[in-house]
Amino acid sequence: MADEKALSDTVLWLGDAKRSPALRKLVAARFRVIDGAPPPGAGRFGVIAERDAAAAALRFVLDRPEAVTAVVLLGPTLIAADGRAADETLIGQLSTLKAPLLAIFGTTDTSAPPEAGRHYRERLANANVVFVYDAGAAMAEERPEAVAELVIDFLRRGDTFLVRQSSDLLYR
């Protein structure tokens, strides 16, 4: 379980714990997964939040800037495709967010559409946006391996996930 190179070995999963069992299983193979509030002595941790849980998760993160190593939002609904945010105050506060953030959108998702992604890039500090091809609102269940690879890499490495580390070598 110990992953010396990871930013943290613990992930806080905020929102509906039963929503994405396939993704959760894959993430749990690499991280200690905690639901809800972190127990005393939990140390530093990454955060995953899905859909509508993103707002509460980000408020939580803003309250604990030193504890959070990376934030992953799956199909977040904080900002609409036209750029309008349900909570402008929260979005304004996020300009000071220190932890690296990854917002993931499914290309066929209509309630958290990929066209919203650009606004996360524009308005949130340290935001990365990735589209998961051919996946909708239930992307974590539709394409769990694809989402897990991305989520795990980001939680382990934060912003340095931009640089590929896996090998393309065919034969030695």
Binding site: G117, R118, A146
Partner: protein
């Protein structure tokens, strides 16, 4: 109707026929240089004589085509062709890096002031040998690559891509295309799968080296699919690729063609590759495409709409049939490139005597 001149940049020296891959030992560099210069001149004339588009395409390991990377040739054309649109019809998309294709096309659109036509092909069978891809995955790769390119052209902020066949952590291309939201997009294919893909993606469709009867059937299917998903295909959404040779009289045109050197076979002429491709379901639900390259007489090819040959009046009648039966608004015309000055005169006659009279079809 509109018309495009399509040159494959055929090698003008002597080579064995019907061989693929053609051994590189037959390629004399000076002759290759001369061949490309001839093609550039043919395109320049097409621009002068009013063709709407000039077309380049991708093929590999063959004397039929010296443009394995058509974007490079299109870059040269951007400096020679001053008016016509430059149609890259196109890269074999499933075998290429789609971000690179998006970048190169955006460059071409910038270099031509927004005159790029973007065509994406699945490639002829041999292309899958060239870069060692499995053809059974070509449709899925094509669909994903197309979506990546469209997003690369339109997203204002960097984005990553977690696909089935492609993965990128950050895409943000420079330059962006001049045409907004992006250049016109076409794909090719006569199969039902191609018609469905084009309709679903709201893009144009081209039919190449087929017959009027087959293209009419595929065109009707495509138009029906467009209607199903909520839009109506217009004539400008439909391209029919058909070779041509125009002379002052029918007799002269036929005489020219009968004296032409033997036609170089298509690059798909390797029988074992075609057999293997059929086994991978490359041709989809319409396997008749796999066997349609049988040799026919010139008159048979004219009758079936595989080539336009004759005087301007005769050619116009043949084009009227294409417009009526297929609904195509754009003719993409490979020229009989091997006829020297007669080829150049054919370009002039098409531009001055045919084009003005098909505009209102």
């Amino acid at each position: 109707m509109k018309a495009a001149l399509f040159c494959t940049s055929r090698y003008v020296g002597r080579t064995p026929d019907g061989v693929w891959p053609l051994p590189a030992k037959y390629c004399e560099p000076e002759t290759a240089e001369e061949s490309m210069a001839i093609t550039l001149e043919q395109f320049r004339l097409a621009d002068v004589f009013g063709f709407d588009w000039v077309t380049v395409a991708e093929h590999h390991y063959s004397a039929l085509s010296l443009t394995p990377n058509p974007m490079i040739f299109a870059g040269a054309l951007s400096q020679v062709v001053k008016r016509a649109k430059i149609a890259v019809l196109g890269p074999s998309l499933p075998t290429l890096n789609p971000v690179r294709v998006a970048e190169e096309f955006a460059m071409l659109d910038a270099m031509t002031g927004g005159r790029l036509i973007a065509g994406f092909m699945r490639g002829t069978p041999n292309e899958y040998v060239t870069y060692n891809f499995n053809p059974s995955e070509s449709r899925a790769r094509f669909a994903e690559a197309l979506e990546i390119i469209r997003r690369a052209w339109t997203e204002p902020e960097p984005f990553g891509w977690q696909g089935r066949y492609y993965q990128y952590r950050s895409i943000s291309i420079w330059p962006r295309p001049v045409q907004r939201p992006h250049p016109p997009i076409y794909m090719s294919g006569s199969s039902p799968e191609a018609g469905e893909c084009a309709a679903r993606n709201h893009i144009g469709l081209g039919f190449a080296f087929t017959t009027i009867a087959q293209a009419a059937k595929a065109s009707a299917y495509y138009q029906g699919q467009c209607h199903e998903v909520g839009w109506e295909a217009k004539p400008d959404d439909i391209i029919y690729r058909v070779g041509f040779h125009v002379a002052e009289t029918d007799e002269e045109a036929f005489d020219d063609m009968s004296r032409a050197p033997p036609r170089i076979s298509l690059t798909t002429s390797n029988v074992s590759i075609n057999k293997a491709m059929t086994e991978t379901a490359y041709y989809g639900r319409d396997e008749s495409q796999a066997t349609r390259t049988a040799t026919r007489t010139l008159q048979d090819r004219i009758n079936s709409g595989q080539i336009l040959v004759g005087s301007p009046d005769t050619i116009i009648r043949q084009i009227e049939r294409i417009r009526k039966e297929i609904g195509a608004g754009i003719l993409d015309c490979p020229l009989a490139a091997q006829l020297g000055d007669k080829t150049l005169h054919s370009i002039e006659l098409f531009g001055t005597k045919v084009l003005p009279r098909i505009r209102e079809l």
